[in-house]
Symmetry: C2
Subunit: 336 residues, 2 copies
């Protein structure tokens, strides 16, 4: 990590992009020039960075051969449109949009499969998995030596920030309307989200699965390096602004040693284990923190081979921006 690099952040004015820029500053990322890029509509805005205001420029005019690494935190379509152009310019890319297929952009959670970068060559095309997978992989990776995981059944309660700034504004607006006894007029969501929850996030495909659910099932196996794992996921949208809450059941081939699992989680990087007698929540613990919070660790009542646990994680930080910066740090340290 002796060199400094020129770097670009695409989608710098979005929730994730803005946090990413903050993290580059907080973590003193070794960069020479930082280029902030966005759509023509957002170009011209500026973001604070190390005491200066950096102007956001239009993406379409940018020459990617001038930077070594680009973070794509805009929409899926933007990532898909630019990926080949970025590669042709010799620039490595970390996608945060979920828009690039797994065959094109390996999903990486440094704590779980950072070593997979060894098998690739520059320019790298890498991606953050869905925020739920980033959090869950951090928790399960240190347990791979202790568990023989067979099946994971997961319910992910996603906050409205998973739907971007409009999701956050809509929850605030709907809640205020209801508390003031004004008629509810859903706009961004098609129905009441305040004091309600949706058992589905976005549209479902013909088989009934949502996009996030498919991503969780595919990405978790890839990131953990366990293609034969059976994964089942349901995503819900909950009236919470920031932070994801996961309810997880892991079925194993052998009986659980809860003390060994506790010890492994206590010593694991990026994890904060909350002991019995308490439990982690997004607002009190996870939001604004780099760590993934784990609690409610217990064996199944009917099955001594089952581990049940709950996770609270900042979907914007470890779920996306922080994970991307950690991938970049790994790239810079060993590969770029």
């Amino acid at each position: 990590m002796s060199q400094s690099f020129d770097i670009a952040v695409i989608g710098a004015t979005g929730t994730v992009g803005e946090t990413l820029v903050q993290l580059l500053e907080e973590r003193d990322f070794p960069l020479a020039n930082l280029h902030l890029l966005a759509s023509v509509e957002s170009a011209g805005q500026s973001l604070p960075f190390k005491g200066k205001n950096l102007r956001v420029r239009a993406l379409d005019a940018f020459d990617f051969s001038t930077v070594r690494l680009a973070f794509f935190a805009a929409g899926e379509q933007i990532s898909r449109s630019y990926a080949d152009k970025v590669r042709a310019a010799g620039c490595s890319l970390i996608d945060l949009s979920g828009g690039l297929p797994a065959e094109q952009a390996l999903r990486v959670v440094p704590e779980a499969n950072g070593e997979a970068l060894q098998t690739l060559v520059a320019p790298y095309q890498l991606a953050c998995p869905s925020p739920s997978v980033a959090a869950l992989a951090c928790v399960l990776a240190p347990l791979r030596g202790l568990l023989q995981m067979q099946r994971i059944s997961l319910t992910a309660c996603l906050s409205v920030s998973s739907q971007g700034r409009e999701g956050v504004s809509e929850l605030a607006r709907q809640t205020a309307e209801l508390l003031n006894a004004r008629p509810l007029e859903p706009q961004f969501f098609d129905r009441q989200i305040a004091f309600n929850l949706f058992p589905q996030v976005g549209a479902a495909d013909d088989a009934g699965h949502g996009l996030h659910e498919r991503r969780i099932v595919e990405e978790l196996k890839q990131v953990l390096g366990q293609p034969d794992l059976t994964v089942s996921a349901t995503c819900m949208l909950v009236p919470v602004f920031f932070g994801d809450s996961l309810s997880v059941s892991v079925q194993n081939r052998a009986q659980i040693d809860l003390a060994a699992i506790t010890a492994a989680l206590e010593g694991a990087a990026g994890i904060e284990l909350v002991g019995q007698g308490d439990y982690p929540t997004v607002t009190a613990d996870a939001v604004g923190q780099d760590e993934v919070y784990v609690g409610r660790l217990r064996c199944g009542l009917d099955d001594p081979r089952e581990v049940i646990l709950s996770i609270a994680s900042d979907n914007v930080r470890k779920g996306a921006a922080l994970n991307a910066v950690q991938i970049a740090e790994l790239l810079i340290k060993h590969y770029l």
Copy 2:
């Protein structure tokens, strides 16, 4: 159902008790005299019933030999204190508090195990299972012929009304404080529930399980008549006023026939199946309704023997008060 009975409702001024009295009126329950009872503190209030105001009397002075059936919708301790006295008076009892052990009071969901009453003798001591089990049993009972269920993994997102009126007031108060940028002062709950969720409801025991979770695991097997089922449950408390949302994965011994399951649910009593392209939520669908809403029916992505579904149900109605009245209707029709 040719006779009319004298009946008592204990805890008539609580959320569930009040709904129970409304349902007795709505369903034109065949009763002669209705006695409303509560603790000394609540005695003296009155509740509307069939155009009159019925006065709530003190429980401790009541002679149970004057009624044929008593609904216990007060606290667990009240049910435990009075159960023997009620039986000695020759009065049958339906417990809604969860306070009586299963060996003493059989859990009944008429759609699932109504026929179990045949094995008992008067005076009956019966109980409603936890609201999540009442909802889930309604959905799974009509599928027993189609599925060879092996394991059920469940995440139950409980609304604050599961914690009584104080839970409802606390969510409203906390939300108003946060929206008005006043400092949050948790009172009834020990931390912020507004725009947050708890991955645990109430205290956990030494093994890490909550009381609701233990009840779900035990009661579901009893109500479905499948003692060898493996059940795993996590209860969360969500910032929703009324209605429970369940995320359910069912593992079966044989491959799923989704069309047959769909047809069975479409024809089942007490169920409203929401087709693909939509999904059920508590505020838009379930609250205030007798039916249990089911949706997001699909096979596991990795396992053709897995059925995944979501349920939205009114925890106060089918979860408690309605289920109790339906048990009473069954008792009166065939047994009392």
